[in-house]
Every structure is written in C-alpha cells, then in structure tokens.
C-alpha cells in the first residue's frame, strides 16, 4: 500500500478534482442557461470521462458530447472492404487488433481470417515491417489512426522498409472534421475540447483559423481527470467571455508550433484527400493517402483491388438500424440506440462504435453506461 501512495499521480488528486468540479459548476451556472453544449473529438477523452465517472460530477447544465474521435470507428466500409478483398486475394494483411472486427459490407477481417486468410495482429507499424522482413511474401499494413499514428507510419516508410512491404492507408486527419461538425445545421456545439496527443504533433496554432471562421472556442486538453476538468472549466469560461479563442490547457506537452520534425515526416509521405468517414459525411481533406512518389509502397497502386466482387451483397438488416453515425456526430447517445447492449455487444458488434476500445458504445458498455446522475449520486 505504501508503493500505491507513492505512485499517486499528480493529475489524479481527488481534492483538486473536487475544486475543479466546483469551479466548473460555478462557471456553467454563471451563464444562466442550459444546456451548455461542448464536444470532445477524442476516444481517449471519452475513455477517461467514463472510467473516472466524471459525467456524474459534471453540472447538469453541461452537456459534454462525444464527437468523431475514434479512428477505428470512422474507418469507412469500403476501406474495410479493400482490406478484406486483398486478404481474400491471398495477400497477407497486418493490422491493429481493433481493426479486425470492424464490419465491412459483407464481412470483417476477423471473418476473412476465420475462413483461412492470413491476417496478423500487430502492436505497431514497426512490427508489421518486421513481419515483411522475415518473409518474401507481400505484407500489407492496413493503417488506421489519426495524425498521431500516421506519423509513425510515415517514419517507417522514410526508413527504407523492405520492398515486399506496403501500406493500405485508412489514416484520418482530425482538423477538417471539426469544420464539418461546426457546420452541421443541427449542431448544438458551442466549443471544442481538442485532443492533446494530436495537438502535440500539429501544435495548437492549427486551430486558430478554425476559431476565426466558426467563432467557436477550442481548448486543447490532456487525458488525466484533472486535465479534462481543467480543460472544461477553461472552455466554458471562454464561452462565457464571448470572445472565441484557442486555449492550450495541456502546456506540459503541447506547443503552438507542435512537433515540426513529425509534421515534416507526415507531409512528406501523406497528402490529405477528401473521403467519407463512416456514418458522418464526406470530409474534405479528412483522409490521409500516400503521395504519388510513395506509390511503390501504396497497396492501392500495387494491387488490383476488385471491390465489385463484394457489392452484390445487401448489408445486414441490423446494420441498417445502427446509429453509430449520429452518435459520432454528437447528435445521439448510445442510450438512444435500440441495439445498444442488446443486439449490439462487444462480443457481437453491429456498429463500429462497439468494436474499438475508443468507440463510444464500447466505452459506455464497459463502464456501465450513462450514469443516472441523481440515482448514482444519491
């Protein structure tokens, strides 16, 4: 127990959390209206909010909406289909564990693997390169993740990987989707809590033009309970002031410029292109694809991926009732979904949000759902 005390984390001090909770209630109530709606765009934020039971500590007037912050969940069906078709064609696929169960038009990679295809779960892109080095067969890394993970993929390509290695990129770029959400006619979002780890790469300065255009404040926040509470206090405070700006509430990791070396690597390998995010919309510049000069490592150029073979199949009926898109856009909650926890469970996910450890539905399922605030606190 003594090592437990000594391991007490600075950003998990409950007495400071209580002070911040009080400050949050105070600033929210000083607005004199309800609800005050803000959105985070990061699965790790939702994970921490759920794990630490923070929703029960938020003032009732504050609505913290979960945005499209899970890279696995917004991987679009045709992207999964590309990986499935490649695997069916006999190409060896390496990908992160969460990507295995994301439903495609007909099946997931896990289904394809169960039928005999070679699909390896890897912990990192470096691990996928290692698989390629140990073999003469082609290894395709099915890459998912936001700019944070895309940098790792870029770094590997810049370090001269073996010629039998290639990348099927489903990498996404977060800043453009914030524009989409801000412009949705039904949006109630008055400000954004931006993901701290993505901002370590891009820098917080990247949000300035966004704030300018949409007149919505952005606060960059970290992932410990105190980081999130402090970020929310700061965000509501800026809403109250009425002069939107960017606030860096994660200064121990994030600078205005970000990580220049990482940005150089990212943009020397990837280019942003428009594409669909599952359930959300077409997001201009939301997808990261390999630049032409990296074509020899681009699985889409290297292989003839015939998606039409899958398209005669009608999607499963349950899938049509899935509201993952609305959940990720912040319009609905998992509790609004008829399938949540009944037909759609982590062992048998219908929608992508129930697959990933960063998916809102999976997180709610794991941590007991939206707390009945009055009930649980009584």
């Amino acid at each position: 127990m003594t090592d437990q005390a000594s391991a007490e984390l600075k950003f998990r001090d409950p007495s400071r959390a209580r002070e911040l909770t009080r400050a949050l209630a105070h600033v929210v109530r000083s607005l004199g209206r309800a609800p005050v709606s803000v959105m985070h765009v990061c699965g790790s934020h939702e994970q921490a909010i759920a794990k630490f039971g923070l929703r029960a500590a938020f003032p009732r007037e504050l609505d913290v909406i979960m945005g499209p912050g899970c890279p696995v969940c917004i991987t679009d069906v045709p992207e999964v289909d590309e990986a499935v078709v490649l695997a069916k064609q006999g190409v060896r696929i390496a990908t992160y564990g969460d990507m295995l169960r994301v439903p495609g038009t007909v099946e997931s990679l896990a289904d394809t693997r169960a039928k005999g295809a070679r699909v390896d779960v890897v912990y990192s892109v470096a691990h996928a390169v290692e698989l390629a080095r140990q073999s003469t067969d082609d290894v395709v890394f099915f890459a998912s993740g936001f700019e944070t993970t895309a940098v790792a993929t870029a770094a590997v390509l810049l370090r001269d990987p073996p010629s039998n290695f290639s990348v099927l990129s489903a990498h996404k770029y977060i800043p453009p989707v914030m524009e989409i959400v801000a412009e949705m006619p039904e949006t109630r979002v008055e400000g954004f809590l931006a993901a701290g780890h993505a901002a370590t790469i891009t820098g917080w300065g990247i949000f300035e033009p966004f704030v300018e255009r949409h007149r919505l404040p952005v606060v960059v926040a970290g992932f410990e309970p105190l980081d999130i509470l402090a970020g929310l206090v700061s965000l509501v405070d800026v809403i109250r002031e009425g002069v939107p700006r960017v606030v860096n509430a994660y200064p121990r990791c994030v600078t205005r410029e970000g990580n220049r070396a990482a940005q150089e690597k990212l943009w020397s390998v990837f280019r942003p292109v428009g594409g669909r995010w599952r359930g959300i919309a077409h997001v201009p510049n939301g997808n990261l694809r390999l630049k032409d000069e990296w074509g020899h490592f681009d699985a889409r150029k290297r292989f003839d991926i015939d998606l039409s073979s899958l398209w005669d199949h009608a999607p499963a009926t349950l899938t049509q009732e899935c509201i993952c898109g609305d959940i990720m856009a912040g319009i609905s909650s998992p509790s609004d979904c008829r399938l949540f926890g009944i037909e759609c469970v982590p062992e048998k996910p219908v929608g992508a949000c129930m697959v990933s450890s960063e998916g809102t539905c999976k997180i709610w399922h794991q941590y007991g759902g939206h707390p009945d605030r009055m009930g649980v606190l009584a």
């Binding site: 127990m1 090592d3 794990k51 039971g53 564990g97 309970p225 062992e347 707390p371 649980v376």
Partner: protein, 346 residues
C-alpha cells in the same frame, strides 16, 4: 440467483465458463432444472453459492467441487496443483467450513504429458495440502489421446464441517465490505505470462489457501460476519455483483480504498484491463456488520495473508443488485465482466 434477460445461445461459448452471468444462466437453464429435491435441509445447487451445505444433526456438512484448467500450467507464484487445492479449500472456507476434512483429487492427462511435470504438480499439491491442514483421501486418473485435451485437467472435491453456514447472500443495508488484500494479482500475472508480454514489475499470482485467515476472522467477528465470497473468475466486480444481487442490496465501492499492487496497477493501465475484473485465487470478500468491521479488519491484518486487508465498501438499501463505483472524481456503475478480459491491442 436469477440472471434476467440472459438468453442462452445454441452453442456453448467461452463466456459460459467465465463465472459471470452467462455461466449462471447456463446452470439455471440447463443443469439445475428437474433435479430431484434435496433430501436434507441446507444450501443446494439453486443457491449457486461457493458450495453446498447439508444439515447433519446440529452441524452442517459442506461440500464443494472444482475443475481446474489453466495455461500455462506453471505460472509466477504457483501452478495448477496449488490452484486445485487452494481453490477447493477456499470454497469450503467461504461457506464457513474453515476446517477442510479431506479432498478428492482427479486428474485427466494428455498422452505424452511429461512425468516430470506431473511430479512437480504433485509436490505442489502435497505442500499446499500441508499448508491448509488437509489431505487427499481418494482420487481418479484418466488419460486421453494426444490432442484430445490440452495437457492436464484437475478436479478436486472437498468436505468440511461447520456450526454456522456463511452465505454469499447475507448482506444487509449498512454492512461494510472488506477485502483481505490486493486485487487482480492472479489474473494479471497469468495473463501477462500467457501472452508473453514483457512487462517490468513483479506480477505474482496470489494463489493460497485462506482457511486459516478466514477461521481467525470468523472467531473475531462471529455472527457479525454475514457474508463471504472469494473473488475468483470475474474478479471483485463479479463477486460484488453476485453478492449484491443475491442479498437484494446495492453496493457502494470506494475505488481508491481497493488495495492494488504497483505492478497490477501499472499492467492494468497499460493493457486496458480493469484489475477489478480479473481473478484472485488467494483473497476473500467479507460482509461484516458495521460495529464489528474495524475489529475484523485488525484481525485480518494480523495474519500474513491479510496484511493488506482493507475496508472497501458499504451496502445500500437501494440500487439492489448494482455496484456503484466511487472513483474519487465521480461515480459510475461498475459493470460485471462478460467472458475473459483480453488485453488491448492497439
């Protein structure tokens, strides 16, 4: 114990053996129905407690059985033999029978299994029996063909006597909940070892016979000890759900009061596994009337196996069957794990 709304699948899945709701549904819907009634007064299968209790005169004979499969067979802190003895001794103790009269020992082994490993397992069985003050009085041996079985399966049955049966359904509003030590050690040690995850820190299974520790606690607390359960598969979360549900109370658990070793805490964060969801094999949960809680706690802490014992929760009159977790930052419902938790791979 009923598990409302759990529909049984057509085929058995791994979750049906994981000790949670799915397993209870399987027992209720397949194994329990239609059995002839019990011939004597006591606690039977439908109670789904840690064991059965049969009245013999003015005392109770407690009977429990457990099969053991584990990969790897030898793991940091123990092996399948120690697990088989301690598991059954502990199930007896959780019914109040802290004196394990005797055990049976059945082994089903795969053709080709090394004799050296069997001897090693036997030595561990012998030593653990000695530690628990019991012995093996009968047994059975079967061999199956190569590939028909994964190495070895052990089954132990234990009997003991008690004057008072302690149930897992005896909690009342206001009762305090104690754990006898750190949580999650066995589950995380085995998981890290099984997946070959190279983690720093000493993750060691807590597998141990608890009958002596529980005897002391029962002597100190007497009738004030109203419920006992060992949080094995499904961890503390499953044990508390079962106790809350059977007792018809809610439970408020103070997360920060739950003792965790530094290694378990770190591995849990890294792997995305909640230490409250994984197995313990040398720990117990005690429900104690509030006026006796401190005394029982002090008694537990006096014992080498209870040094890290702690008061972790309180029973509530409302929220029956629910476990509310106070994280120190807010509150949420603690979920009951379904199936074996898997490390996050992303």
């Amino acid at each position: 114990m009923n598990a409302p709304g759990v529909r049984l699948d057509d085929a058995i899945g791994m979750k049906h053996g994981a000790g949670g709701r799915a397993m209870r549904a399987l027992i209720e819907q397949v194994f329990a129905p239609g059995l002839p009634p019990m011939r004597v007064e006591g606690v039977g299968l439908s109670a789904m407690d840690d064991g059965a209790a049969l009245r013999i005169g003015d005392r109770f004979l407690v009977l429990t059985t457990d099969s053991h499969v584990i990969q790897p067979i030898f793991f940091p802190g123990g092996d399948i033999g120690r697990l088989a003895v301690a598991g059954t001794v502990n199930d007896l103790a959780m019914m109040g029978a802290t004196d394990a009269l005797a055990l049976t020992f059945s082994v089903i082994v795969e053709e080709g299994f090394p004799r050296r490993d069997l001897e090693r397992i036997h030595e561990s069985v012998r030593a653990t029996c000695e530690e628990a003050g019991t012995t093996i009085v009968t047994g059975d041996t079967k061999v199956m063909g190569r590939g028909e079985l994964d190495g070895i399966v052990l089954n132990t049955t234990g009997i003991g006597m008690t004057d008072r049966v302690v149930r897992d359904c005896g909690l009342r509003p206001g009762d305090r909940l104690l754990v006898t030590g750190t949580m999650g050690d066995h589950g995380l040690a085995v998981m890290v070892h099984r997946h070959g995850l190279d983690l720093e820190g000493d993750l060691i299974s807590d597998v141990a016979p608890l009958n002596d520790l529980i005897r002391r606690a029962l002597e100190a607390g007497r009738d004030a000890v109203v419920a006992l359960k060992d949080p094995t598969r499904g961890g503390l979360a499953s044990a508390l759900h079962e106790m809350a549900s059977k007792s018809g109370v809610g439970i408020l658990l103070e997360e920060r009061a739950v003792p965790l070793s530094f290694g378990v805490r770190s591995a849990g964060e890294l792997l995305g596994i909640d230490p409250l969801h994984v197995a313990n094999e040398g720990k117990a949960v005690l429900g104690v009337a509030p006026e006796a809680a401190e005394e029982v706690l002090a008694c537990l802490r006096d014992h080498p196996l209870g040094r890290n014992a702690a008061l972790v929760g309180t029973c509530l009159p409302d929220h029956a069957g629910k476990v509310i977790l106070d994280t120190g930052f807010g509150r949420r419902l603690l979920t009951e794990p379904e199936g074996e938790p898997l490390p996050r791979i992303c």
